[in-house]
Symmetry: C2
């Protein structure tokens, strides 16, 4: 006889496993905690989630998260470079860029990337808004900070084509070795790209 958790637990683990970033082991560990957690903490977590879902909207301009009764700190900061627009896939990517400290311009969140397999077409992304913003902001450079996988590449090409008539600079993030990593930590494609994009020293 194959022993397993009772059905009620198996159902819970299955649903937790479907959450992003939770493998079988993490889902099991989380299940154990959730079962043993005090009711108050469960209620608190679920209230915080409902509260966030109610309050949070996307900024109509850049697409980053804002609370519905506030204005976007990013779009309304006059100290930011107004002529550079960094295009990212998701709202979370904005914070990743911000934490790197490398960019001082404005952002544009696409809300995903082109993916024929998942039925994501240009109409599902904020492409038209991008064209309008580039025009209204008199953008001089659009930086494509998209993933370096197939969908990311396809999305970058699509945008490059889309913005070509505007006659502005369109750039993308460099590809190469991650900081602090040795050759043994990167895959062959990364290494290929790192070699291909090599730069002169000194």
């Amino acid at each position: 006889m194959r022993i397993d958790y009772p059905p009620a637990i198996q159902r819970l683990v299955a649903q937790l496993k479907a959450l992003p970033g939770l493998g079988p082991r993490s889902a099991e560990r989380l299940m154990l905690w959730l079962l043993q957690m005090r009711d108050e903490r469960i209620t608190a977590l679920s209230n915080t989630l409902l509260d966030a879902r109610e309050r949070i909207v996307a900024c109509a301009d850049c697409g980053f998260f804002i609370e519905s009764d506030s204005t976007c700190q990013l779009c309304h900061d006059p100290r930011r470079q107004q002529r550079q627009l960094c295009v990212v896939e998701q709202a979370a990517d904005v914070l990743r860029m911000e934490r790197s400290g490398a960019f001082q311009g404005l952002y544009h969140v696409l809300g995903g990337r082109l993916s024929p397999l998942d039925n994501v077409t240009p109409e599902d992304l904020r492409m038209e808004a991008l064209v309008n913003r580039v025009r209204d902001l008199h953008t001089e450079e659009v930086i494509l900070a998209l993933g370096s996988d197939v969908e990311g590449e396809a999305t970058a090409s699509y945008i490059a084509d889309l913005l070509r008539p505007a006659g502005i600079a369109i750039t993308r993030l460099a590809q190469g070795m991650p900081a602090g990593g040795g050759l043994d930590h990167v895959d062959e494609l990364t290494l290929y790209q790192a070699l291909h994009g090599r730069r002169k020293m000194g």
Copy 2:
């Protein structure tokens, strides 16, 4: 100006980070999903959790999870070795042992391990029930399948002392190299113990 998520999101991420096994990056990824998930899926997940919390109880004998209206498959399987009792810390450890296929006896879930720092004393664990079961089941061997960290060791010693009067065999899991791992994958203490517990070949 340091950009961060709006407060409602920060609160959610903070609570998700407090869940076991979720680091900052996983919590952020989970937050993004939870915010974008359809209401039906959120409701389904929360109902599954409530359902599991309502139905699931610990078996009064072994301490493994059972649904409250059913009997324990493990305790009531006559084909299992009735004279061997495997002591584990948590209910989830029972399944880990079962998946290994190495054990055919009965289990006893302690419900934790001794930890003075966390105020976990013998009274908080199912120690008395263990003594009673060893007597009632005429147990011949108690196998301590506890963690090999300080608290696990302390708990094992405590149980060994507790059961000494019963005059039965008390064993513990071997310590050594994990299967499939090279020397470069284990820490020094594991290596020390693996060397110390080395066995003759052939």
